[in-house]
Amino acid sequence: MSNESKTLEKEAQAQAEARQPWTARRVGDLILNNALIIIMILAVIYIAIINENFLKAASIINIISQTAAYLPAALGIAGCIVLTGTDLSAGRAVGLTACISASLLQNAENLANKMWPEIGTLPIWAVIIIAMAIGALIGCFNGFFVAKFKLHPFIVTLGTQLILYTFLLLYVQQGNNKGMAISNLDPSYTSFVKGSLPFMKVGSTPIPNYVIFAVILTAIMWFVWNKTTFGKNMFALGSNEEAARVSGVNVFATTIAVFALAGALYGFTGFIEGARIGSNTANTGLNYELDAIAACVIGGVSFVGGIGKIRGIVIGVLMLRLIFVGLTMVGVPQDLQYLIKGAIILFACALDMRKYLVKK
């Protein structure tokens, strides 16, 4: 199904819906289709009543900051899911790029604790490019195996994940580091990521810079997905590979590009996390992909392929963070939170499939 016919169909559907009377069934459908947003709003109201701190500036900015930190990786992984794939190597890619970024941006004044004493502190823009290039390279590797050998991305990225772990373990043992956590970060690096512009404040709580980066990235990704040939090709490929091939989409190049773009975004996440968490070990980034995949699924990026919106991903990431922050605020024990997270993922997926089945 090409994009055009999809939009036509949508318009027709919308017109048909507008003509329909407001029956109980239609209202029910409307509620079900927007169930997650409704639940989210109800949850926010409930938590705010139970715990007044929830709606304070510090808490809201905390949730927004966490959303911003997890957003780039989710935006990347969403592309892979649109291609009916997934990417399990995201977490390790974040870990590797975080360790590399941190090691290149250590404080040159404290040479004893510097991983590479021979090279000074690199300029920040160079490290961003290096991190994103390494991420993109990892993505290309994934994409190549998926496109060339028609392996399922689950398998390919599972392999890459393991391979990257070895790289990560070896990297932290290089130079002066000997397997220790990479710390002693340059102040310019931490303030670039965690600092905030003087006017970016709500009350007395500053909004960290990485929120701005996430907003910019989201805008770029929205443009790429919706306004470029590459984006349209990606959706066409995700909906129906054969049809896309016949209509002249370069399947090989598009697949590699989607994975490479995702990789570049993991690289950026790694750069941010290096300073944000401040802990750069072989365990950094572990299981990031799972949160990112969960967020995409909650946000309506369908594993069926070819379906997904940037808006949905942002909502998905925000919702996951809300769950974690909100549940603690109302005093739900930590052990129960995973159950709730799992239930929400299942619920979101079931809703998503229900829409899809209706369409069929």
């Binding site: 701190n53 510090a58 968490i277 802990s279 950094t284 299981n287 922050v325 603690t328």
Partner: protein
Amino acid sequence: MRRILARLALASLMLTLCGCGTSPTPTIRVGVALYQQEDTFISTVAQSLQQRALEEEQARGVKINLSVADGRGSQTQQNEQVDRFLDQKYDVICVNIVDRTAAAVIIDKAQAAGVPVIFFNRQPVEEDLSRWDGAYYVGSPGAQAGELQGQIVLEAWQQDPAALDRSGDGVVQYVMLEGEAGHQDALLRTKYSVLALTEAGVPVEKLANDTADWQRGQASIHMTQWLKEFGDQIEVVFANNDDMALGAIDACLAAALDPLPFVVGVDATPPALEAVEEGTLQGTVLNDAQGQAREMLDLACDLAEGTAPQVEDGHYVWLEYSAVTRKTLDAASAGAGNQSE
């Protein structure tokens, strides 16, 4: 709902009041972030904290609200937990930090929110701790645990060298099971346990060493490997903690080794004390969980009530280790009996 709201309003009122020290029964809210609850020693500390909080409540006439979060070995998760504690305006935060080099992030956050932070058991880098006056560390000096561990072996050597030196070559062959790479205690215990022997003039030879990440399972895997390689050449097994010592014993028992090598651990966890009683574990070093919990809560309450805390060098509260062997076990188990009351 109204009751909860009322209670919240009351609590926040009290918080503002207890700053001035006029409130009769203030609530002290303490957030505790553990690096990994599965760690036997850490969970002992957490339990002691809960018990101690009840006692402290009566002693000080305050209400202590203890909230424990498990970081599951991820600094990312722990940072988020600390953020949540800060958002909820806890009075004091206790952090058993996952990555000791990452304390600066947490200290900066706590400083921005004006909430004192007490690190425990896992010692942050010194420069980080000195960033802010409101950051403290409660723990035991890692070197001492190693020294005591070495002394247990030394004592056995002095009593009967032949029993320890089974090969009869006059040299103590040992293997070292290390805690996670880069952990302050792991480095210090590894270094000082052997140093205690060499300084006393006991000739030693290291057969192998590896990190088992504080874990029983991993230690057992390494030990099985070493047993294949060295067999009964291994005379002493140093383990940086009890879980790993027990893992080594698991491997020896599985290999039907008799007699067992001389295994020593650190922490004196309940399973380790049982093993000492059974005679499989020769000795361990009591890492004072109750003491840590007591000092942490004392410090937390002092900070919340605005009393000047009693600390060394402006940041540190140190606790003593003590050696536990079959001989001292009666005293130690009596102590353990007291704690469970």
